[in-house]
Amino acid sequence: MSSAYLFTPENRLAQILQAIDGPTVDELVRDAEARTRLLGEGIRAFVAEKLDVLSAYAARDEASVFAECLAVADCARSIAEVAEAADLRDVGEAARGICAMVENLISNGVWHSDALRLHLDALQLLKDGSAAPESSQVILERLREMRVSVGVQE
């Protein structure tokens, strides 16, 4: 029979609550948001660079894209991790969809090159913001439905 034991570790984080004259939660959030806004330009440049890498994959044949799907996922993930912080939420969501498909490939062995290609095409549409907000939402919803239909867990 296996044994288990429990103990209560010291909660060192609790010290942050002892702040009689400290800043309020609202002030801390506001300051953090202001700091992240300053990174906007840099993040947009970074995302544009990564989107160029992804668009190059879109021009390649199916076998070569499949062979490099982990590199595609890494590139998409690096976009998804930061895009929304620079007001590029839709780009981030489409990139997140690519991560989901590659993770599904790794865990379930399911792969759909056409679905990936559609995501790559969608990213090109979404990146310049030329699509109307309603159209962007339709694009993202259709991509999500497609992923679900091919068995990707969201």
């Binding site: 570790p9 609550l17 800043p23 953090a32 948001e33 700091r35 990174l39 930061v82």
Partner: protein, 187 residues
Amino acid sequence: MLSKRLDLRRTNILVVDDSLPSLELISQVLMGFRVERTVAVRSAQEARDAVAGRLFDLILVDGEMPDGDGISFTFELRRQEKSPNRATPVVLLCSYTPREKVVRARDAGVNVVVKKPVSPAVLLARITWLARTSREFVVSSAYAGPDRRFQHVALGPDQHERRAEQLALAATPERALSQSDIDNLFG
């Protein structure tokens, strides 16, 4: 009444992320929170070295890194009996958070999963929750980490706890035999 003021200046936080823009983003959020003691590293191996030599109050770790993800890192950390950071709260940061990954993270001993990019309001809410909550730490052959049980659900009418008979006996001590009664049975 819960305090709405927080002092994170002296909080020791380890941030682990292989992506430079993401690391910069998280670092700026923490600076906005007035955290003065942040250590930022860019790989799971650097994180292992960092937790071996210094005590942290909180660890923020990327869920997806090429040399080992945050889930594996946490799994290892929770099993290091001598590590000063064995029970340090771990927040897993992931760009993609399907249910399966969240369950895997919980079972590895992760305290909280937060979606990337990190929203300052969400991250601060999670940190505050961790500060207010003292969860027990469980160590068994199958699991090491914060107690995963959040609910105490009453058993149904047809369900019986395994210890039910012992508990019933303890509740009615007059029905229990004393040691001398037991000795007499064998005398």
